[in-house]
């Protein structure tokens, strides 16, 4: 077979599956049909595709069990009730938050300067205590660690040496 024809046939053969599945546009189908009538090689390949498909269709479809539908529906219903229960818990939390908000709106008058001052003082105190927590242990005189610390301080003071004033042994003679 000449090389150009082989290439041509190769192109047609690549399209044969799509031709068989009716997935090509009409004009392409016509061209391939025309080629298949003339080329025994490609025609054989087309017949092979047909036969493979026939063999594949030998497999009979399995039947779904009778319980399949009822199983699916019961599982769906279980899921549905579970989701509803979950949703009701979320709804309850949501309504509690709403109630709290309305209570705050009704009972605390934010525009009152006394409330405002109290609120600001509270916030400042909380922030202050969080950032600069007081070191209560250091202020306690009965704390053991504090006493030890003071003793060591004294020892340090005592350990200073006192150097008495000494007279020089020789004097410089000035002529």
């Amino acid at each position: 077979m000449p090389k150009s024809k082989m290439n041509n046939c190769h192109n047609y053969q690549a399209q044969l599956s799509a031709y068989f599945d009716n997935e090509l546009p009409t004009w392409k189908r016509h061209i391939i049909r025309w080629h298949l009538k003339r080329c025994p090689n490609c025609s054989d390949k087309h017949a092979a595709i047909q036969q493979t498909d026939k063999l594949l269709n030998y497999l009979e479809p399995v039947k779904t069990s009778d319980l399949f539908l009822s199983n699916v529906m019961s599982r769906v219903k279980t899921m549905h009730t579970y989701e509803n229960a979950q949703r009701s818990v979320l709804n309850r939390i949501g309504s509690a938050v709403e109630n709290m908000k309305s209570w705050i709106r009704g009972n605390i008058r934010a525009y009152n300067p006394v409330y405002m001052a109290g609120f600001v003082f509270g916030v400042v105190m909380m922030v202050g205590v969080t950032l600069y927590s007081p070191q209560i242990e250091k202020l306690n005189p009965f704390n053991q660690s504090n006493a030890e610390a003071s003793e060591t301080h004294e020892e340090k003071l005592i350990s200073f040496e006192f150097i008495p004033k000494q007279t020089p042994k020789r004097f410089l003679k000035i002529r």
Binding site: A18, Q51, T52, S65, M73, M79
Partner: protein
């Protein structure tokens, strides 16, 4: 008048269980068959088909009819099948269907049919089916999925491309190669010699 899948799904989104039931009725056989041909285990195929429908129901509230319902359903089933195949490969699980040749028809109602008057024909048919099933199993994952979708589910290349998340051209070559390989394997297994040409 036949209600479309998309309309049924929209009804389902509103909470209509009967619409969902109708969808399950429509697709249960096709879906179980598809998964069965993919993973080659009937009981697991039923489980996965159930799981597919549950996932559909779960995401019904978010469903928007942009793509076809069928493609969406098969995409979920394909993902579940792929996971199953990978899990099996990882765990090296062997199933009864893989180990015993003849027992697969235990699950089929046909098993109960009286075959005393034509045992040889039935036996030959069963044997051939067994060979085809085994051959199909030997194909690479993507080729098997594409070939199953086009042959048994009769989906278009465009729908398959949506399901397998690839281009239509890729689907075309996948199916072509799948048929080539299938042909070779069938000849090797002893059936399909009557036409000598290789695809």
């Amino acid at each position: 008048m036949i209600v479309s899948d998309e309309d049924l799904m929209l009804e389902c989104r509103k909470g209509d269980m009967s619409a969902f039931e109708l969808l399950v009725r429509r697709y249960q056989d096709a879906l179980v068959n598809y998964i069965y041909y993919t993973i080659n285990d009937y009981h697991r195929a039923e489980d996965l088909a159930q799981e597919t429908f549950l996932r559909v129901y779960k995401s019904a509230s978010r469903y928007e009819p942009r793509a076809s319902f069928k493609s969406w359903l098969y995409t979920i089933a394909t993902n579940l099948s792929r996971n199953e195949i990978r899990n099996r490969a990882r765990r090296k699980t062997y199933y009864l269907e893989d180990m015993v040749d003849e027992n697969e028809d235990v699950y089929h109602s046909e098993f109960m049919v009286d075959t005393r008057f034509q045992p040889d024909i039935l036996y030959e048919k069963k044997e051939r089916q067994q060979i085809i099933r085994k051959t199909l199993k030997q194909l690479p994952e993507n080729q098997r999925l594409a070939l199953t979708l086009v042959t048994y589910q009769e989906l278009s290349y465009e729908e398959i491309s949506e399901i397998l998340n690839c281009s239509v051209g890729a689907v075309k070559s996948l199916i072509h190669r799948a048929r080539q390989n299938m042909r070779k394997l069938l000849i090797k297994a002893g059936i399909g010699e009557s036409v000598n040409a290789q695809i």
